[in-house]
């Protein structure tokens, strides 16, 4: 069974420890042990929502708010740049979720 890690008991996201496919059931290690099903494929090092997060709600990892949801996120969904923004970095919503490449830079 593939694994993900919940670092802090208050976290609503966990980090994948290996690549996992859609509908795959994965083990949640760390603060709360259990299993959950993914709604979409999620890669190693990326985050899955452990519970539903409302639009504008806090995304919590390490027990602190690491960003705010920019739309409602369901449990089992991939949590990244396409649905979460930084509270500090104003460019945060301008990066490609897959590659991380900046989309706001004008080349020509």
């Amino acid at each position: 069974m593939k694994r993900c890690l919940q670092i802090h008991p208050g976290d609503n996201v966990a980090t994948l420890l290996e690549d996992a496919a859609a509908a795959e059931s994965i083990a949640v290690l760390g603060a709360r042990n259990g299993a959950m099903a993914l709604l979409e494929p999620i890669r190693l090092g990326h985050k899955v929502a452990l519970s539903g997060i409302p639009d504008g709600g806090a995304v919590v990892k390490y027990g602190v708010t690491i960003g705010l949801a920019t739309r409602a996120i369901r449990a089992g969904e991939w949590v990244h740049l396409h649905n979460t923004r930084s509270q500090v970095d104003v460019r945060s919503s301008e990066f490609d979720a897959e590659t991380g490449a900046a989309r706001d830079t004008v080349y020509e």
């Binding site: 290690l29 602190v64 500090v88 979720a97």
Partner: protein, 400 residues
């Protein structure tokens, strides 16, 4: 576990775990000669400053490195027409009860004769350093250790940095000094950091260092998070910051120190290396990992810990650098460069606490004289640049 070993007592009361000769050059034009002097010599390291025009920050940093606890003697080498004065460096080093010499290349007839002259001086300085430094017993309370991360991946915030943090807790509990830095990678964590301050004074210092770092990021329109970080799964600077700060452990923050200042007491300290706002704007804060390691070195760290998930091959002059990776694949692929595999925490092979105990044993072995991987490979990268940062003035004084 080995928790007591032999060190070298310095006049200021600090103790070194190595007894090295340092060659310092004062302008890029003297770089080749300085490196040739040290080439093939045992226990001789090199640092230098490339600029012809001098800079208070760079001079302060070089003087801190020349009087580092692991340094027993110094040779300063200049070309002969630059602003920074090798004679002043040698003079100030001598005041610290270390043997020191200096010379200008232009006064010694060129490259070959300068190299020969430098090698003769180094050989004499090495013998003097051996005679001069008393061997004394030392332990955790005599150690200052700095930690930094670079070439990070998703494992750094999950295993590499947490194991360093758990080790830092042990070091602080044993009476040692622990230093963490990279305030631009603490963005979003003002409350978390200020909440860990040991005193109201420390809280004010931490808040000021944090606010300066955020002001810096806002001014340059750049936060310390990159496309590679996003592709690896980090979503925001706040998330990256928590992963980076994990290497500071859980103990209270005693206060903020600036580049070239040793921690004034035991415990955990935050090093502020961000340039102050100045007539030339901020300048750059951390242009590369080596620059950050110089800052930690300047505060007297006898050993440095470097966390790298993707695998960096850098080392450091003056203090042994210990490489920690949270990625077991990186550890296997780059075994000759990596000292410690914290990825075993993620595979469930060891717990975080077991790994921290093992790391502490490794640090004790390196403190006892065992070479770390980068040290044995001969990695001695250094980087000293122009920067503006206020600190209390130097007693000996340099050009203002």
């Amino acid at each position: 576990m080995n928790d007591r070993w032999q060190g070298y007592l310095r006049a200021d009361g600090r103790k070194g775990i190595r007894n090295l000769v340092l060659v310092v050059y004062t302008v890029e034009c003297a770089r080749h000669v300085a490196h040739e002097i040290a080439s093939g010599e045992d226990g001789v390291h090199v640092i230098g400053f490339p600029g012809c025009y001098d800079n208070d920050y760079a001079i302060r940093l070089m003087l801190a490195l020349a009087r580092h606890p692991n340094i027993g003697a110094v040779l300063a080498v200049g070309l002969g027409c630059e602003y920074t004065q090798p004679e002043r460096i040698a003079e100030i080093v001598r005041q610290s009860d270390r043997p020191a010499e200096w010379f200008y290349i232009q006064e010694h007839g060129g490259t070959r004769s300068s190299i020969a002259h430098g090698k003769a001086l180094v050989s004499r300085l090495r013998s003097l350093a051996r005679e001069r430094a008393p061997r004394v017993s030392m332990s955790w309370g005599d150690l200052t250790i700095g930690a930094e991360c670079g070439g990070s991946d998703a494992t750094s915030g999950l295993a590499g940095n947490p194991v360093v943090g758990a080790f830092f807790d042990r070091l602080v509990d044993a009476g040692g000094r622990a230093i963490f830095e990279e305030t631009v990678e603490m963005v979003g964590l003002r409350e978390v950091l200020v909440g860990r301050a040991a005193s109201p004074k420390s809280a004010r210092e931490v808040a000021a260092a944090y606010d300066k770092a955020v002001g810096y990021c806002q001014s340059v329109h750049q936060y310390s998070v990159s496309p590679g970080n996003f592709a690896g799964g980090l979503t925001t600077i706040e998330e990256k910051s928590m992963g980076a700060v994990a290497k500071s452990g859980q103990r209270p923050i005693q206060g903020v120190i600036r580049v070239s200042q040793p921690p004034p007491g035991p415990g955990l300290w935050l090093l502020d290396s961000v340039p102050d706002e100045h007539f030339m704007q901020f300048g750059y804060t951390n242009p590369n990992d080596t620059e950050g390691l110089m800052d930690l070195l300047s505060s007297g760290s006898q050993i440095l810990l470097f966390v790298t998930g993707r695998g960096s091959v850098i080392g450091c002059p003056i203090a042994p650098l210990i490489k920690v990776t949270g990625n077991s694949q990186t550890f296997l692929r780059m075994r000759e460069d990596m000292d410690f595999d914290a990825g075993r925490i993620l595979s469930g092979e060891v717990t975080l606490q077991q790994a921290a105990d093992e790391l502490m044993e490794l640090v004790a072995a390196v403190a006892s004289g065992e070479a770390s991987k980068p040290e044995a490979l001969g990695h001695r990268e250094y980087f000293i640049m122009y920067k503006h940062q206020e600190t209390p003035s130097l007693e000996a004084g340099c050009r203002a």
